[in-house]
């Protein structure tokens, strides 16, 4: 209200709050950049919509005409198989046209800036960008600069956020466990480098999960992680006690600039999830992993393929969740 007294341009810019960018004035999803700051109602709406799409798999034609005539660009500056293919499949099942651009094969390697890339693609009249970038804030940057009417979905930016992954994890938990308020959930592993963990913690807080734990060695935890409202454990057995859901994170070897760990072997000895260790959790504890799993590093193959694992269901649900987000941002009423 105070802001209205000043010309907008002269206001000090602390950087836009995520919701100023990603929501419309009526609170509808316009971009999806981060889970942080979304309301419980909106997250629930996304999950409910995903539920409708998840039921499509029994159809002979696994496609609906919702985004017919829309063009969606998968703009990936960082390697990804699962995320890119599930976004691609989600777009195709909504009948959109999809363009996949990988940086290693594009002119970005010839020195074209992100903004140039954006402008050129906009000139081809696209409707949505799905962007993954090694720099935190890349999706925000794009959302700030795209033409009105174009949506940006963050498919992972640096160490910052990976909202659709967190949402599909919430969808998976809700499918198998129902009400979040009764659940104890442990996130185990490389929290420091993980945009997935950050987004998951925000999502679990929004959905009012009973207890969220992070379990990791000191060297793989960000400073002040407790401020996110999680309980910190440095011992896996203790961290898993009475847990309903355990989410294992991939050890991000490619993001480790310094020696955070003595060796992968030692890491597995201390933090690797084995059947024996899983006994500390509740007997029906779900085992999740955003993939790709380093078998024998953070998770034993017997657990990854075991009866409690829902790792492959996460992949399947990922398509439905991405379909929901894509149709919600494209279906925003023009004000």
């Amino acid at each position: 209200m105070i802001a209205a007294a000043y010309p907008a341009r002269q206001l000090p810019q602390p950087g836009p709050l995520p919701n100023d960018l990603q929501l419309t004035s009526t609170g509808q999803l316009r971009h999806l950049l981060t889970v942080e700051g979304l309301s419980r109602e909106l997250v629930t709406e996304i999950l409910d919509n995903a539920e409708s799409f998840a039921n499509m798999n029994e159809k002979a034609v696994k496609k609906v005409p919702l985004l017919r005539g829309k063009t969606i660009v998968n703009l990936f500056f960082e390697a990804s198989t699962r995320t890119r293919t599930t976004f691609e499949l989600a777009a195709k099942r909504l009948s959109a046209d999809v363009l996949n651009i990988n940086v290693s094969t594009s002119s970005a390697t010839k020195g074209e800036s992100l903004l140039d890339t954006l402008r050129n693609l906009e000139a081809m009249n696209v409707d949505m960008f799905v962007v993954r970038h090694q720099q935190s804030g890349a999706a925000h940057f794009m959302a700030r600069h795209v033409e009105p009417g174009i949506s940006v979905l963050n498919a992972g930016d640096g160490r910052h956020a990976h909202p659709t992954q967190a949402l599909l994890d919430m969808f998976t938990i809700r499918r198998f466990k129902g009400d979040f308020t009764r659940l104890k959930i442990a996130i185990v592993g490389d929290i420091l480098h993980s945009r997935v963990a950050r987004s998951q913690i925000h999502a679990l807080n929004i959905l009012q999960a009973g207890e969220v734990r992070v379990v990791a060695p000191h060297s793989l935890l960000p400073a002040h992680v407790e401020d996110l409202g999680v309980h910190v454990f440095h011992n896996l057995e203790q961290g898993l006690r009475d847990i309903d859901v355990v989410i294992m994170l991939r050890l991000q070897r490619e993001r480790m600039e310094h020696a955070h760990l003595p060796s992968e072997h030692e890491y597995f000895q201390l933090f690797g999830l084995t059947q024996r260790r899983l006994l500390a959790a509740k007997p029906d504890c779900l085992v999740m992993h955003p993939g790709p799993a380093n078998r024998g590093v953070e998770i034993d193959s017997a657990v990854a393929d075991g009866a409690q694992s829902v790792i492959l269901q996460q992949v399947t649900f990922g398509i439905a969740v991405r379909m929901a987000v894509m149709s919600m941002v494209m279906g925003v009423r023009s004000a």
Binding site: S52, N55, K59, A60, V61, V64, L66, G331
Partner: protein, 168 residues
Amino acid sequence: MPEIASLLDSMAEQTRRHFEQRGIEQPIVVGIHSGGVWIADALRERMGYTRPMGKLDISFYRDDFSRIGMHPQVRPSELPEELDNEHILLVDDVLFTGRTIRAALNELFDYGRPASVTLAVLVERDGRELPVEAAIVGAHLELGAGEQVKLRGPDPLRLERVQLEDGR
């Protein structure tokens, strides 16, 4: 507004005749959410049909998505049987422009290739925008341009005349 029970009786009689003439013993009844499902349920009971009922939520097939956006709470479409080579009785509450039926037919054909589709509606009114007509009709209603008829339910079912403010 007419009584639902008598409309359903009339629909049941028409349904019996329609399928008898064609030598079809029992079609698969498919209702369109929400009103169509209620009517399909009641009609199926009157007919003594035993095959499981199908339900369609056509929200993903609407042609006004780019104008009005995601429909809140799309219920899953459920089609318990294979549709290939089956006779389908598609049921809705109100037939007006025909666009809902167009969407429902598109969705049906994503599940399979039925032998035939027969349309049954509780009420119809003028205003078709597509070449869609029902074979089984409970009643024809005369409504003004700014008026709509809505089926309220599920218990009890009743028709309600609604005045639209913006005359859409």
